[in-house]
Structures are given as structure tokens and as C-alpha cells.
């Protein structure tokens, strides 16, 4: 394997990792469509879902353009298997209640915001452009989700208890964001500085929400390299069902 080929593959893997995390979170959020706790919030969460889908498409289109095996954005989303998906474990976790959904969104969006902040200065023009376009959406996702975390965390006795449970549920999946996969080392951003900023922001928001930060938690990892929790298979079954059953079907 020559060096150029290796780097090309690693770069495509990195783009797919970015794409997969946004696609899977989009799919998860879309499960709320028609089930939101109140009409206005139903629209808000599905809006975020569509924002993420748009970001995923941009990344997939770019990955497809770089591939030499005729991949398209659709084949990348609909025809890869569980082990080929490189999304973070955090985004495949179930919606749970509204509290768990908004906390998952916040933990991810805060990370994604800091990531895009660096990525928009990437030496790769296309990645930089996608990040610069997406960061405005992400900024709003951070605002929307952090406000919800504060409302519920520092809300009623019940909402506080539910948020405590959500933190306990999701925290073990946050460590993975900052452990670089092999393909991330050459092209990715400086995860150490993102971690520092992420810790600061998240500590502040959870503090305002009266939610103590968990300590000494064993962190799960593996999503970035295709070792997923049991959740992803079910998500893909639903997401890919149509294309697998009627290959090539179009609207």
C-alpha cells in the first residue's frame, strides 16, 4: 500500500466519521417527529434533525467525490454495515425521555461547535467550507439544548431527578469524543484543546443546572472504529430498510 493511498483512505474515513455522527443523531432526533412534548418543541427537535441531516449530506457527498469505487452519498448512508459506521457512541444512545434527548444534544453540540470552530480553518478547503456553513446551525443547537438542560436540571423535583439519571446514562459515552482514532491524527483537529474548552463549558452549564459532574466514570469507546453498542444495529435496520428491500428505489 503506497503512502498516498493510505492517506487518502484515512482522510475519507475521517470525513465518514464526521458524517456518520451527524446522520445517526439526525435519525435519533427524527424519532421525536410527531411525538414531541409540545407542538413547538416537536418542530424544534425535527428542525435540528434536518440541520444535522444537511450536514451529513455535505460530508457524504465530499467522501463520495473522493472515493474511487463509485460510492454515492446514498450508498454511503444506506449500504454500509454497522461495523463500517464510525459515529460516536453518544449519538446512537436511545432518546429516553425529553431530558435525555436534550442532554445528548447538548453534550454533542458543544463538542461539535468546538470542532467546527477549528475545522473551519482546516487546510482542506472543502472541509473548512462545510464547517463554516454548519457552525451557525450548531451554535443554535448549543443554545437551544443548553437552555433545556438548565430548565430541567434546575426545575422541578421530578425534572431534576430525570436529568440526574440522564447524566448518569450518557456520561460514559463522552470520553470517546476526545480519544483520537488513527485516521483523526493526521487530519483532525486538536482534540486536547477541544476537551479543555468542552470541560469548561459543560461544567458551567451543568453547574447552572444544579447537576453534579460524575467522577471516576469508566468511559466507553469504540464507535469511531466501528465497534458499537447494541443500539446501532436497530437504528440502521430502520434507516436502511427501504434501500435494502427495494435496492435503488427513488422517490
Amino acid at each position: 500500500m503506497n503512502v498516498e493511498f493510505y492517506f487518502m483512505n484515512a482522510f475519507t474515513d475521517y470525513i465518514l466519521h464526521l458524517a456518520d455522527s451527524t446522520l445517526i443523531l439526525s435519525q435519533r432526533n427524527s424519532e421525536w417527529c410527531g411525538h414531541g412534548p409540545i407542538l413547538e418543541q416537536d418542530i424544534a427537535i425535527t428542525n435540528i434533525s434536518l440541520d444535522l441531516l444537511g450536514q451529513a449530506r455535505n460530508f457524504y457527498q465530499y467522501a463520495a467525490a473522493l472515493s474511487s469505487n463509485g460510492a454515492t452519498e446514498d450508498s454511503l448512508a444506506y449500504l454500509r454495515k454497522e461495523r463500517e459506521f464510525k459515529n460516536l457512541l453518544l449519538v446512537e444512545q436511545p432518546n429516553g425521555d425529553w431530558g435525555q434527548t436534550v442532554l445528548r444534544q447538548y453534550l454533542f453540540s458543544q463538542y461539535q461547535y468546538l470542532l467546527f470552530e477549528q475545522l473551519q480553518h482546516s487546510s482542506d478547503e472543502q472541509l473548512a467550507a462545510i464547517a463554516a456553513k454548519s457552525i451557525k446551525e450548531t451554535k443554535y443547537h448549543v443554545r437551544w439544548s443548553s437552555e433545556w438542560v438548565v430548565r430541567l436540571g434546575d426545575g422541578t423535583e421530578e425534572s431534576h431527578a430525570r436529568m440526574l439519571k440522564a447524566v448518569e446514562e450518557l456520561w460514559p459515552y463522552t470520553g470517546e469524543m476526545f480519544i483520537p482514532a488513527e485516521y483523526e491524527i493526521s487530519f483532525g483537529v486538536d482534540l486536547a484543546s477541544i476537551k479543555k474548552n468542552w470541560d469548561e463549558k459543560v461544567t458551567a452549564v451543568l453547574g447552572e443546572a444544579s447537576l453534579p459532574l460524575p467522577e471516576k466514570v469508566f468511559m466507553q469507546s469504540g464507535g469511531k472504529t466501528g465497534t458499537h453498542t447494541e443500539q446501532l444495529g436497530y437504528i440502521l435496520a430502520e434507516l436502511q430498510y427501504m434501500q435494502r428491500t427495494y435496492p435503488g428505489a427513488e422517490w
Binding site: 412534548p37 409540545i38 437552555e147 434546575d154
Partner: protein
Amino acid sequence: MFNTFIRKFYYGDIPEDNAGSSEIKKAQAPPSEGWPLWEIFIRSKQGLDHKHVGSLHAADAAMAIENARDVYTRRQEGISIWVVESKYITASNPEEAGELYEPAADKIYRHPTFYQLPDEVNHM
């Protein structure tokens, strides 16, 4: 899952809840106990006025702005949003339409239609 009871307001109904505040409400009743109704005004373009576009529910002003952003501007309808809690709008009573508006109906001399405009003045 939330067992949501959606309170229905008809246009012009003013909810009684005392929940208007620009501060983020931390302790709040669940939606089922009724978030107040807010009237939404959107400015579609620079230089135009804010126009009433509808109403929605929100726990406080900050959430009302965000809900309005998602409900009323997601297809590029606006560049500025005003929200006001519906209970702060005082509306005229439709039953008083007679004394309020009808007297103006036969006062055609209040319209500037009796001037001879020079031909050079267009679009009046």
C-alpha cells in the same frame, strides 16, 4: 412519554396564567399545566414593519423567541422577531364595532379624494 394535554386557545382568548417574564424560568410547570400563549410578530425584510403572524406557547420570553424562530422563520420568512405575551394585548370588543367603526363609513370627506392632482404626480 409525556402525557400531554394541549390547551386550545381560540384567537383573541387571553390566558389567565401569570407567567410572563424575560428571565429563563427554571422551575416551571410541565406543558400539561399550560404554558402561556404568545403573539408573534415577524419582520420579513429590512425596512418593513413587524407583522403579526400568529401565536404559540412558551414558558417564557426566551423560549417564545426560539419557538417562533422554529415555527415561523424556518422557511426564511424573517430577519427579526418580536414576542409579546397574549395577555398584554388589549383588543377592542367586536360587539362594539357599531359605535367604533361605522360612524366613519359615511365621512367620505375625510379621504383626500377631493384634490385635483397635477398629472406629474403618480402613484397616489
